[in-house]
Subunit: 143 residues, 2 copies
């Protein structure tokens, strides 16, 4: 009985390992193909903006309002990360991620984006848009 | 006895409400200051790297290895986002976020970072580090 029980235990253990491995492989393939599909369609880019120093506070407020509204109401706007050079806060860079280029085309016709463009038209000295390919994004799970 | 018991119960209830409120206020203040402290302490920057076109594949592999290892083993490395200009993939930018400058100082002494620096020393044409202030980060909850 004891050896039978041990064989059963071993069998169960191997079944668990095998099924766990199988589930892992299926999950891995599913996640990989999802990630690749998403990566290929996403539109990622930098908006590099030089702001009039006298209008920096108003510009920043308009930018924040636009970003927060777009993330809230537009399905295809995935993330905005806006930063300013410490050495010169009038040099602003936004890392923008859209679900795809159609999402971006939709975005630039929204009332909040048009309002932003109108508000900041005399605040922005220059704007450079740089399309990007992702090499890798990694982050802590809670970050 | 009954009224005494009721007063005691009432007293206990108010004490609970008061202490609950007090605990909440303390928690709120602690969490707010934590969040602010975290924001203020985080070290955010761009690493702008020009890579030798002949060594781009090897460079990218070394960069990914470094990023993935750092995120996995270093508590203070919060995120890396590495991108390349579509028009010129030898222009690479990494948006790096560390918990604080101490976390960064620890990072640059780790074996994986030293290995990366040694591996890429003849692949990198130029490196510019730009310290940044965050204007705003917004993203979809599932992104």
């Amino acid at each position: 009985m004891t050896s039978c029980y041990q064989i059963l235990k071993l069998h169960l253990r191997f079944t668990k390992i095998l099924s766990f491995g199988f589930v892992n492989i299926v999950l891995f393939l599913a996640l990989t193909s999802c990630a690749l599909a998403q990566e290929n369609n996403q539109m990622v880019r930098f908006a590099k903006i030089k702001v009039d120093p006298l209008k920096l506070v108003e510009y920043t407020a308009a930018l924040k309002e636009q970003m927060e509204m777009a993330i809230r109401v537009e399905q295809g706007v995935l993330s905005y990360q806006a930063v300013a050079d410490k050495s010169d806060p009038t040099n602003i860079t936004i890392l923008e991620i859209y679900a795809d280029s159609a999402a971006y085309q939709t975005h630039i016709l929204t009332p909040h984006f048009l309002k932003y463009k109108e508000t900041v038209k005399d605040m922005v000295i220059s704007l450079e848009l740089v399309d990007l390919d992702v090499i890798g994004f990694v982050r802590k799970p809670d970050h």
